[in-house]
């Protein structure tokens, strides 16, 4: 199910309950998330929007298990992150979460195909399978001819597509994108979002996109508005269409 605002499964893909997170130390310590509650469902593309400094990145870092909440709980597909140890969270993330970052963070010494292969190699998959999967993904993303190229030899848009391929290579249940169109012009941004929607949204997978870019709001099934560390409003696509 998608674009109807309804959950595809009973268990939310992401369930945040009373999440409090501070950043900084001593006198610079600031509460960034104030007891935040949030459900994100599989089968949807959910956009997380809000002004700079409202806590969007802190929230997705906490959801991805990169930061730990100071209070509250976060469950991904029914797995409570707090019950996993430090190593357990890293492994859980490696299996279940794919990340597309604003600055791509591709490995400059690796070719496009090798970059896509990294999450699979981390999961110790067979090299032959890894190679086939990487080639297949690059083909799907229109990069079949660029597998042997290094990131520095690719355009920004191509680098973005490699980053997307890497994020979905290991078939994760949750994909988190941080400002995926920030470095792109309007046309490229639209193309990337079309592609992202096409290759990532599935009934058993949730896609959470952090963005400032109102031009891509139309791609969302749900839009979660944040301000000052709190959820202020949630729009569904049907509500937006009705409006």
């Amino acid at each position: 199910m998608s674009r109807n605002g309804q959950p595809a499964t009973e268990v939310p893909a992401i369930a945040c309950r009373g999440v409090v997170k501070h950043l900084g130390r001593r006198k610079f310590r600031t509460e960034v998330l104030h007891g935040l509650d949030l459900d994100v469902h599989a089968g949807q593309m959910t956009l997380l929007v809000g002004p700079s400094g409202c806590g969007k990145t802190t929230l997705i870092s906490t959801i991805a298990g990169i930061l730990r909440p100071d209070q509250g709980s976060i469950a991904l597909f029914g797995t409570e992150l707090g019950t996993l140890g430090r190593r357990g969270i890293v492994r859980f993330r490696g299996r279940n979460v794919g990340l597309v970052l604003q600055q791509f963070h591709l490995f400059p010494a690796l070719t496009a195909a090798e970059n896509v292969a990294v999450p699979l190699l981390v999961l110790r998959q067979h090299p032959a399978q890894v190679k086939a999967r990487a080639e297949s993904l690059l083909h799907d993303l229109g990069l079949a001819a660029h597998g042997d190229k290094y990131p520095s030899e690719l355009s920004v848009g191509e680098q973005q597509r490699v980053a997307i391929a890497r994020a979905i290579a290991h078939d994760p249940k949750l994909i988190i994108c941080d400002e995926p169109t920030a470095a792109l012009d309007a046309t490229s941004g639209r193309l990337v979002m079309q592609l992202l929607r096409q290759v990532t949204v599935r009934s058993d997978r949730a896609v959470l996109v952090v963005t400032h870019d109102h031009r891509i709001f139309g791609f969302a099934d749900r839009i979660i508005h944040m301000d000052d560390g709190r959820i202020t409003r949630i729009d569904t696509s049907s509500e937006r269409e009705a409006a």
Binding site: T57, I60, S61, A64, I66, L67, R86, R87, V90, R91, R93, G94, R95, L99, L101, Q102, Q103, H105, F107, P108, A109, L110, E114, A117, V118, P119, L121, V122, L123, R124, D178
Partner: protein, 382 residues
């Protein structure tokens, strides 16, 4: 995953070159200096090592090491022969002198006078002539390198004559004696001939070389000789180590070599440590990204250590190769470094030292990798 981190490593070519250079520099300096030091110490006891049949060395109580000779009365030989457990005992005359060719070429020489009857103490490796030729009048055995230094460019030939303290000496044997500590030419001759070449006064007996009977340990026999005669008596191995220890204790050789080795280690570690730190700092976002992708800190440390091990191995291979080349080409038969080499145990020891250096040099960097916050992929370096 291993190939991926190796590719990440070689993506930073300049830093890899710096790391490899640092390790190679330290390896070369440590291995070369250690090889020279061991070669020099080995040389100090080569005369003892060349007397392969000898179990026990007997000497005046004042003698501490091989190159300090205090002649004993010839009658001491008979006292030693009378000690139970002695199979045989023979005299050895040892003196430093100089030799001159008829062409006028002069070299320092170590003159060793061995027992006239048994000729015990002449090196077993004879290249030309027969050991029995030493029984001829004025006969001497000269080492191959000494011959090459006295008659450069000429083939090894018997019958050449030398001036030895205004006396004529005839080369009847050419040996392959191991190089001595300082002398350029090593001459063996009969005891009676040697004392004629270099008169030393009433007492002429430098050392007594003895063999223990098969049923007794040489150490016990040596202790027996010392107890009965009041002379110093050591097994060949004990005397070798006494000689080496004397040089270690009483010369600046070990300090000089140790300083160079230490400097090599410090400079090499500094280069490796600083370059590796730069490498890790520049790559922290990549390590953070690997953590985000699901690489645990433990596995990441293993991968970073693998990167360090790869540059370490490359640097070690280059450094030890250069050190081996140095000994191969610098230690020619006629050079001052003849007989010097790079034993396997020095190469292994240097390898272990370099491995330790790399681990110590990369510890700080490993800490940075361990505590690298994956969140930096969102915010930049934090």
């Amino acid at each position: 995953m291993l190939s991926i981190v190796i590719k990440m490593l070689f993506g930073e070519r300049v830093k890899v070159l710096g790391l490899v250079f640092g390790v190679a520099f330290a390896t070369l300096l440590v291995a070369q200096q250690a090889g020279l030091f061991v070669g020099l110490m080995t040389r100090s006891q080569n005369v003892i090592a060349d007397a392969t049949d000898v179990d026990i060395w007997v000497m005046d109580p004042a003698v501490e090491y091989l190159d300090l000779v205090r002649p004993m009365r010839d009658t001491e030989l008979y006292r030693v022969r009378g000690v139970p457990g002695i199979a045989w005992a023979v005299p050895l005359f040892k003196a430093a002198t100089s030799v001159k060719t008829p062409e006028g070429r002069t070299k320092s020489a170590l003159l060793l006078g061995v027992d006239d009857a048994s000729l015990t103490g002449v090196p077993a490796r004879i290249l030309k002539g027969s050991i029995l030729d030493l029984r001829r009048p004025d006969a001497i055995a000269i080492d191959r390198v000494g011959f090459m230094q006295l008659w450069p460019g000429e083939p090894l030939t018997l019958g050449k004559t030398l001036d030895l303290n205004d006396r004529r000496a005839v080369v009847t044997v050419i040996t392959d004696a191991a190089p001595a500590f300082s002398a350029q030419v090593i001459i063996h001759t009969r005891y009676s001939q040697a004392v004629a070449f270099v008169p030393t006064g009433r007492n002429q007996l430098s050392f007594i070389l003895a063999k223990a009977t098969a049923d007794l340990e040489p150490v016990a026999v040596a202790r027996g000789i010392a107890a009965r005669t009041g002379l110093n008596a050591y097994t060949s191995e004990e005397f070798s180590w006494r000689t080496i220890r004397y040089y270690l204790k009483n010369t600046g050789i070990p300090i000089s070599f140790a300083t160079t080795i230490l400097l090599g280690m410090v400079v090499g570690s500094a280069i490796v440590g600083l370059t590796f730190n730069m490498f890790v700092t520049d790559n922290l976002p990549q390590y953070a990204m690997l953590k985000v992708i699901g690489v645990t800190s433990g596995r990441l440390i293993g991968l970073v250590l693998l990167q360090a091990a790869v540059v370490g191995l490359m640097g070690y291979a280059i450094g030890i190769g250069l050190a081996a080349l140095f000994f191969e080409y610098a230690a020619t038969p006629t050079s001052a470094l003849r007989g010097f080499n790079l034993p396997w145990w020095i190469a292994s020891g240097v390898g272990a030292t370099i491995a330790l250096l790399i681990v110590l040099s990369t510890l700080t960097s490993l800490g940075r990798v361990l505590f690298a916050q994956p969140a930096m992929v969102f915010w930049g370096k934090r």
